[in-house]
Each structure stands twice: as C-alpha cells, then as structure tokens.
C-alpha cells in the first residue's frame, strides 16, 4: 500500500485507495473537530467577554475576567485548595489502599474473583446513590456512624460529619476515595498481573525476600501503571462534582466548594458564562501543569 501511495505521489495520478483511506478517517476527524476542538476554541473566545449566556450582546473585557479570577476571587482559590486537599488524600490513601488490595488479590488468595467484584462495586455505582447512602451514614442526629460510635462507647467522637467545618471536607474525601479506589485497584491489578512470574521465581531462587522482591521488581516495573493511576486520580478528583452536590452543595460556608461547582454556579444562577469560561481555562491550565509535573516526576523516579 505504501508502495502504491509513493507511486501515486510520484506520478501525480489520483489514487482511489488513498482517497478512501482519508474518507475512513473523516468521521473521526469531524467528530474531534466538532466535539473537542471547537468547544476548546469557543471557551477561550467566550472567556474574554462579559456575557450572560442568553443575551445577543457580549461585552469585550480582554483579560478582566482572568485578572479577577487570579487576584480577587478567594472563593475560587478556596475551592482549588479544597480539591487539592482531597486529591492529596486520594493520591496517598486511596491509591495506597488500591495497591495493597491489588497486591493481595494478585497473590492468588482464595476467593480472589469475589474480592475483585466487591472492590469494583463502588466505582460503578452512581455518584448520586453513593452520596445519598453516605449522607445517611454521616447524618448528625440519626446517622449510622454516630450510632455505632455511641454503641461502642465513643459517644464523645460523634459529629455532624458533613456539617462541621472541621470534618466536612475530610468526610467528603472519604466518600470520594471509597467510590474511587476500585478504579485504581483494577488498573494496578492488571499491571501486577502483567509482570512475568519468572522474575519473581528467579529472585526467590537467588534468595530475595518478599520485601526486597516488592521494592526491586514490583515497584520499578509498576511505575508506568503508577503514573497512569496517579494522573487519572488527579484529573478525576480535581473534577469531582456530583458527590459534592448530593452531600453538601459546597457547604457549610465554602468548606467543601470545588472548582467544577464554582464554574457551574457562575453559569446558573450567576449568569456569567464569560467568567465561567475563564475559570474553565484557568482550571484546565492548572490541571495541565499538574499532569505534566506529575509525569516528569514519575519519569525521573523511573530513571533513578
């Protein structure tokens, strides 16, 4: 085919084969341009206007929206800090738990298939359903968690978990991690199962202990998987929205506000589509920087 294409190029004659190849690509390209590229451009375009999303008139503001977001919008940066805090917890505890469980299931324990299904159950549940269940667990007066604490004599530890400023964000993070760790578990398990067993056997023959095998064989070979899981965790957590809406709606005060909610609030009820677009651009740039840094760090670790 390459030969024919080169020949056609040389002779300048029209090649039906090549044309049909391009036609095959056309639907995907059109979809990409319409549903990905155009919205990106449109968001950049709208971000420099004052526009309520309905009116025929847009007022050109140049960089005023960006200036306000960067310098005079503490609620936005509070939401970014909140999302970063949850992301930090997810990267450590959620992925740590996922790795431990994946490692255990990979060791051919009895009932491994059942565990695999159980651990993957939370991610496939709707965020709305998960939020409602945990709302009931966390409820201050008649919640399950407080009832259990009282029952076991730890009544002093009871809280209105989602309604107190000291506990709300961490309580929300726990729900997010519970719902999300199954994804990491499945990906990490697939990674672990991709490591040739012969490497482990050879290491054992050479007298390496389990700890040494883990750090010298498993971890280095799993680095590409860790990168994937951590990038997905950062992107997924920073963009959390549904759980927040169902559990706290960003409250109390601004304690569980997250960037996605701030952006959508600017559109409805704020009617500031231009400003929301600028927030979207700033958020996208922050995520891009975080992802690039993360990948570079991971590459550095791999090289080390």
């Amino acid at each position: 085919m390459e030969q024919r294409a080169a020949q056609a190029k040389k002779t300048g004659s029209f090649n039906w084969q090549m044309a049909s190849n391009y036609l095959f690509v056309l639907p995907a390209l059109a979809m990409f341009l319409i549903f990905n590229f155009y919205p990106y451009i449109q968001v950049f375009y709208l971000s420099v206007f004052k526009w309520n999303g309905i009116s025929m008139h847009k007022t050109f503001l140049w960089m005023a929206n960006y200036k306000d977001i960067l310098g005079d919008n503490p609620a936005w940066w509070k939401s970014m800090r909140n999302a970063a805090y949850v992301t930090g917890l997810a990267l450590t505890f959620q992925n740590g738990l996922a790795l431990v469980l994946a490692w255990l299931v990979d060791r051919d324990i009895r009932g491994g298939q059942i565990y695999r299904s159980i651990f993957f159950l939370p991610p496939i549940l709707s965020g709305i359903v998960v939020g409602l269940i945990w709302n009931w667990i966390y409820q201050g007066d008649y919640g399950l968690l407080n009832a259990v604490l009282i029952k076991i004599g730890l009544g002093d530890l009871t809280h209105a978990w989602l309604a107190e400023s000291s506990t709300a964000l961490t309580a929300l993070a726990v729900v997010h991690m519970w719902k999300g760790f199954g994804w990491g578990f499945i990906i990490l398990l697939a990674g672990l199962q991709g490591i040739p067993r012969e490497l482990y056997e050879a290491a054992r023959v050479d007298g390496a202990g389990e700890s040494r095998i883990f750090w010298k064989i498993t971890v280095p070979l799993m680095i590409p998987v860790f990168i994937l899981v951590s990038v997905l965790t950062v992107l997924g957590t920073m963009q959390m929205y549904d759980l927040v809406i169902v559990t706290t709606r960003g409250g109390p005060g601004l304690h569980t506000e997250v960037p996605m909610k701030r952006i959508l609030d600017e559109i409805t009820p704020g009617s500031r589509v231009g400003y929301a677009s600028a927030m979207g651009v700033v958020f996208g740039v922050v995520l891009l920087i975080v992802s690039v840094v993360q990948i570079q760090l991971s590459k550095w670790f791999k090289a080390e």
């Binding site: 999303g53 309905i54 005060g253």
Partner: protein, 433 residues
C-alpha cells in the same frame, strides 16, 4: 477490494452526513406537535394526562418532555436559548433578571394582548400575585418592554410548618404557632427537651436561606429599605441587616436545630419532618404533596415566618410557582397559546390541584379531596413577596455571600457583623462592575 473500501468509505460519509443533518431542527412539516419542556417530576403524570385529554378534545398533539433535576433543566434551557432550539412552551427557573435575559434575546412572547383585560378576559382567570411574577413594568431596570410574559400554572408559598402532635407533646398549644422570633426560639427549645429536633430545613439549598433572610428583612426594615440595599444606597452593614443576621445567630445558640441543617438537601429535610424527627421546618407549599406521600397521617400546619420587628408586616415568599412561557420564535405559537389557555381553564386547573396538590394560579379552581391544609398555605399569600416582583434584583454573588455567610453563622464560624461586612464587600464588587 478497492471497490469495497470505497463503498464503505462512502457509506461512512453518508452516515455522518445524515447524523449531522438530523441535528438540525425539523422544519416545515405539515402538522407539528406543541412541545413543552418542564422539570416537575411530581407533576409529569398529570401533564401527560392533560395532553392526552387535549388531543381527544381538539385532535392536536402536545408533547410534555421532562428534564430533571431542576439544575439539569436550567442548563438545558440555556443551551436551547443559545442554539435557538427552545421548544414551543418552556419555563425559566430563576428570578426576573434571568427571565429578562430570555426576553431580551427574543425567546419569549409578550402575552399582554392575548391575555386581554377586564371581566371575562383570560387575564381575569388568574390571581394577580401569580400573574404579576411575569409582568415587567414600564421603564423597568431590565429595559424589557412592558408586558406579561408568562402563564402561571400554580403558585407556592414558603412559610414555616409545625407538627401539631409534637407541639402537644412538648406542652405547646398545637393551634397557636409561634408569632415572634423569641416565641419560635422558645418553641424549638421545648421541642428539643422532648427528644426531637426543634427545627429542620434543607439549608444546603441556599435559596431557602435567602428566602427566609429576605422575609425577615422585609419585616424588620420594610420593602423600601430592602430595595434601597439592593440598589446600593443602604449598606448591608446597616444595623437592621446585622439584626437579621443576628436572628440566625440566636437560632444557632438556642441549640435545637438539626446538627446537619446547613448541608441537608430539601428532600432529606422533608423526610426528617414527615417522619416526625423534627417539630418545625421551613418549606414550600409543594410539601403538602410530598408529605402526603411520605406520611399521610402527619398532622401539621403552616405559619408565617416569625416576627423580628413590629413596624412592618410579616411577609412570606409566595405568588410565584410554575410559569410557562411561549417561545416567540415557535412555528406553532398560536397552537401553543391555545393549549395554555385550555390548560388554565377552571376544569383543567381543578384537575391539576387534585392530581398534584399544589395551589392553583387560577382563581376559581378547586380540587377534589384536597387537604384543608392546602387552603391554609393559600391564606398566607397575603403580604407575599418574591424576587420576581422585587423592584431591584440582587446580584447572585451578593446572595451567595449572604447565604454562605448565614451558613457560617449557623456553624458558629462567623459573627453577624463579619457576615454583614462580607456581604457588603460582595455588594461593592458587584456595583463596581
């Protein structure tokens, strides 16, 4: 092989072209159905029944399309407006500012001439409070041409509600709800002593907080001063506003509110009240329908938001409810208006009361078997206020600063003075833009 590849490629292009062309709005077909978008899951069945009945009577088809929850619906309507693909009839969730932006963009028909005037007119069917939520006065601040822009279907009031049985258990008079803020605090404490929560409400949904705050503000300082604050001539740091925020501080300090109050959704609060875990709540008249489903034996009654001051009347948010707008660009505009006229006829309005247990916007409508409590909600309509009828709307960012600030007061994180300063800061920022 080459022919096969070409055939597949052409087929792919045809499929893509037909997909993209199907995205275009259908035009020019002989008989078009009137399409209605709405967000009311609890009323969908009744609407579908009405559409069926309308077809039987007139032969014309009406399609009610449900998009829920309400924030999803709001986004759909906005996208519809941006892409010029709004249906023939729809509603806008929001205040007068939102409605004005739809009108300004040419998406809403001015119905003043169609409604007529005087006895026997279509306009005379409706309660004034209900119809006025869609009315823009001459020379209004939104620069919208004067007129009525919507047809109200039902109306709501948002008062306090108390559980008569729990009141009796707490040694309170079940026929005499609290009249003043201090009486309200005392009642809540009495309820708490019997082991139930004194007060619950879905105050994660901040519009409920804003509703109560504006009720209290109207009662304490009067409409003129509240509007002057919206206009920016009275600051939110004014002692009257600080007193409004202090009412919430008293509520927090009294120690009888549901501990999760500020992060409870309204549905969860409705469950708590209907299951008699709480003696008082702050909720809309739609709750009659909700409570009858959750606990038909619940014995309750509404009461006006307790008085903070004595100089001005106690107000309650009310008068506005479901309002349908006619798309000014609809190709079946006359059919759409004819359907709304039929729907707001006494017979259909009465059916809606019976089926949905909501207060009708139609004067003479009366439902069968409707709980007497619904009439008590209707009686509260006197002295009702609503943002859609405010002479000056408040900026959503200022509303957010106020409601989030009140949440902070309710968790003892901020003082009323601090919240007043935060709200004023948001006000100054909105004024400077």
């Amino acid at each position: 092989m080459r022919k096969l590849s070409l055939c597949i490629a052409v087929l792919g292009a045809v499929v893509l072209t037909s997909f993209l062309s199907s995205c275009k709005k259908s035009e020019g077909s002989g008989h078009q159905a009137v399409v209605v978008w709405h967000w009311m899951t609890d009323r969908d069945e009744a609407f579908q029944n009405l559409a069926q009945q309308y077809k039987q009577e007139t032969g014309k088809e009406v399609q009610f399309q449900l998009y829920a929850p309400s924030d999803v619906y709001s986004q759909k309507v906005r996208v519809g407006a941006q892409t010029d693909s709004l249906p023939d009839i729809y509603g806008v969730l929001g205040d007068a500012r939102d409605l004005a932006s739809f009108i300004e963009a040419g998406h809403v028909e001015n119905l003043t001439a169609r409604l007529g005037d005087g006895p026997g007119s279509w306009k005379s069917n409706f309660y004034d409070e209900a119809l006025n939520t869609t009315y823009f006065k001459p020379a209004n601040s939104f620069q919208v041409p004067e007129g009525f822009y919507g047809i109200p279907i039902d109306v709501t009031t948002i008062p306090f509600i108390y559980n008569k049985r729990l009141f009796k258990n707490a040694g309170l008079n079940p026929e005499k709800p609290p009249q003043t803020w201090d009486e309200f605090i005392a009642a809540g404490k009495a309820l708490k002593r019997t082991g139930v929560t004194g007060f619950v409400s879905g105050w994660a949904e901040t519009w409920l907080i804003y509703s109560l705050a504006t009720d209290l503000a109207h009662n304490l300082m009067g409409e003129a001063k509240v509007m002057a604050t919206h206009a920016g001539t009275v600051p939110y740091t004014d002692p009257d506003w600080v007193a409004v925020f202090t009412a919430f501080e008293k509520l927090q300090k009294a120690g009888f509110i549901d501990p999760s109050l500020v992060t409870l959704g309204n549905k969860a609060a409705e469950q708590a009240f209907s299951q008699e875990r709480s003696g008082m709540t702050f909720n809309g008249s739609w709750a009659v329908n909700v409570y009858s489903g959750m606990n038909p034996k619940l014995d309750y009654a509404p009461f006006r938001p307790p008085q903070l001051g004595t100089k001005f009347p106690q107000t309650v948010w009310g008068g506005a409810g479901t309002v349908f707008l006619v798309n000014a660009k609809s190709q079946v505009k006359d059919d759409a208006i004819a359907f709304l006229k039929w729907m707001s006829d006494k017979k259909q309005a009465s059916y809606l009361i019976t089926a949905t247990k909501n207060l009708s916007a139609v004067k003479d409508a009366s439902g069968d078997g409707v709980a007497p409590v619904l009439k008590q909600f209707a009686d509260l309509m006197r002295n009702s206020i609503h943002p859609n009828r405010f002479a000056v709307s408040e900026d959503p960012r200022v509303q957010e600063a106020m409601t989030k600030g009140i949440q902070s007061i309710l968790i003892a994180e901020k003082t009323p003075a601090e919240v007043a300063a935060d709200v004023q800061k948001a006000k100054e920022k909105s004024k400077s833009e």
